[in-house]
């Protein structure tokens, strides 16, 4: 049996989701059409709105539809400390650990010297500008404990050195190859309190 054009289009579109192959895409499509039309309409509306309106926070680069995200706008955050992480899930993990009250800068990836992913792709110019313009005392580098995370941290250190800001790197308790989002809250708390100053 072949699907009608609209159903076929839906199945093919669902396959853009991670972990979704032809079989599960078909199951999802039929579920939505047979059992949950209302859910389908809601999903389509939510997807459309998010895809059209969500962009990056102008100061930390995290995803948001506002000019600035909640964390950056919050009067409770300590604006003298800035923590640099690779992904939004890292922000989530650190927030969960409850050990940090400063602001963030989210790279949305890491440098990858052999793939040509460079400082422009991570918008490091925005990071540099923030350090130059805001009164930031300390930049905490919380990139992953991977080789790429190390390469990225080193680049940022070299870039920010002339600004004379204190730069620290979280290290303790983060195993080699460790990605922040997979590390539990207490380990992450230790990693923060045990951060080392880089020179």
């Amino acid at each position: 049996m072949s699907h009608s054009p609209l159903i076929k289009q839906l199945i093919e579109s669902l396959r853009c989701l991670p972990g979704v192959g032809a079989k599960s895409a078909q199951r999802m499509a039929y579920h939505l059409l047979e059992r949950d039309r209302n859910g389908a309409r809601k999903l389509s509306h939510a997807l459309f709105q998010a895809a059209e309106q969500v962009g990056h926070c102008s100061s930390c680069r995290i995803l948001t539809e506002a000019e600035q995200c909640d964390i950056c706008r919050s009067p409770k955050r300590d604006r003298q400390i800035l923590c640099v992480v690779e992904s939004p899930s890292d922000v989530y993990a650190i927030e969960q650990s409850g050990t940090y009250s400063g602001t963030y800068f989210v790279l949305m990836g890491h440098l990858s010297p052999l793939d040509g992913i460079g400082p422009q792709d991570l918008h490091l110019d925005i990071l540099k500008q923030r350090v130059m313009q805001e009164s930031i005392d300390e930049v905490i580098l919380a990139t992953n404990a991977t080789v790429e995370g190390e390469a990225t941290a080193h680049y940022i250190v070299e870039m920010l050195k002339p600004q004379g800001v204190k730069i620290t790197r979280i290290a303790q308790g983060v195993p080699l190859g460790g990605e922040l989002e997979y590390i539990d809250g207490s380990t992450l708390g230790l990693a923060f309190s045990g951060r080392k100053e880089l020179d």
């Binding site: 991670p18 972990g19 440098l111 010297p113 052999l114 793939d115 040509g116 460079g118 400082p119 991977t146 080789v147 790429e148 190390e150 390469a151 080193h154 680049y155 250190v157 070299e158 195993p175 080699l176 190859g177 460790g178 020179d199």
Partner: protein, 255 residues
């Protein structure tokens, strides 16, 4: 004559990770430098969700024993573990050393043959990364610690690949290169006292050529001139500019 290659099964080979990239949702494609076999690529399935730390093992510069099977250009990784090694053998690549090591990996990714015994260059690779690891203080003003291992590796890699440079014989006169003369170096032939205006040539001192012939890169002039010659020679064998070099330039542009 093209024949379909037989199924390959390789067990417990010593290897280093040159590069990896994401493949499908949870897998990686890993480019390995296998001691006895050169560059081989394999899919490592499901490693991104693995709690066994296999993802960490498959990062660049990890020394491993691996088993591979399959056929064609893309094999499947069937076993991987960290190579047991003494602390003194462990690499500690940080800062500039790490960027230099990335450059070396990119050279190998582009130039290393497959299914060829590459033990000689594999051993040199280990020596060079060890040298780079021994120096992790970026504030040091001199560049010897980074430049010497890099030049040595480039020179030996060209030799290994069969692209040895003629460093000792003046190609127009047949005389030995003399330390106190300046030579016009043409890539395919070598040094000459006479300039051939039709051919592209690099002006280089006889002393530098003789130092290179003995793998001696101990002074700034030799380092500087040999860098130009080796960069030119290597570029002849690359299809595209090296990305790690671009990033390195951006990083140290003001230094």
């Amino acid at each position: 004559m093209n024949t379909v290659p037989d199924r390959i099964k390789l067990d417990y080979k010593t290897a280093v990770v040159l590069h990896h990239y994401n493949y499908q949702d949870n897998s990686l494609i890993v480019n390995f430098f296998v001691q006895e076999l050169g560059k081989l690529s394999a899919v490592a399935r499901g490693v991104k969700n693995s709690k066994k730390g296999r993802y960490a093992l498959l990062q660049p510069f990890q020394k491993l024993t691996i088993s591979l099977s399959g056929k064609g250009d893309l094999l499947t990784l069937t076993q991987v573990e960290a190579l047991l090694q003494a602390d003194s053998e462990k690499w500690n690549l940080k800062g500039k050393s790490l960027y230099c090591a990335y450059y070396i990996n990119e050279l190998l990714l582009n130039l290393l043959p497959a299914h060829t015994d590459c033990s000689a260059i594999f051993n040199l690779y280990h020596e060079v990364l060890k040298l780079l690891s021994s120096h992790i203080d970026d504030s040091d003003q001199d560049n010897f610690h980074y430049e010497i291992p890099l030049r040595l590796f480039e020179l030996k890699l060209l030799e290994f690949l069969g692209y040895s440079l003629n460093l000792t014989v003046d190609q127009s006169s047949g005389e030995k290169v003399s330390a106190d003369r300046q030579y016009y170096y043409q890539l395919d032939v070598g040094p000459s006292l006479q300039q051939n205006i039709q051919a592209q040539a690099l002006l280089i001192s006889g002393q530098t050529l003789l130092n290179m012939a003995q793998s001696r890169f101990n002074d700034q002039k030799t380092l500087h001139e040999s860098k130009q010659l080796l960069k030119w020679a290597i570029s002849q064998h690359l299809n595209k500019p090296l990305k790690s070099r671009e990033l390195f330039k951006q990083l140290y542009a003001n230094k």
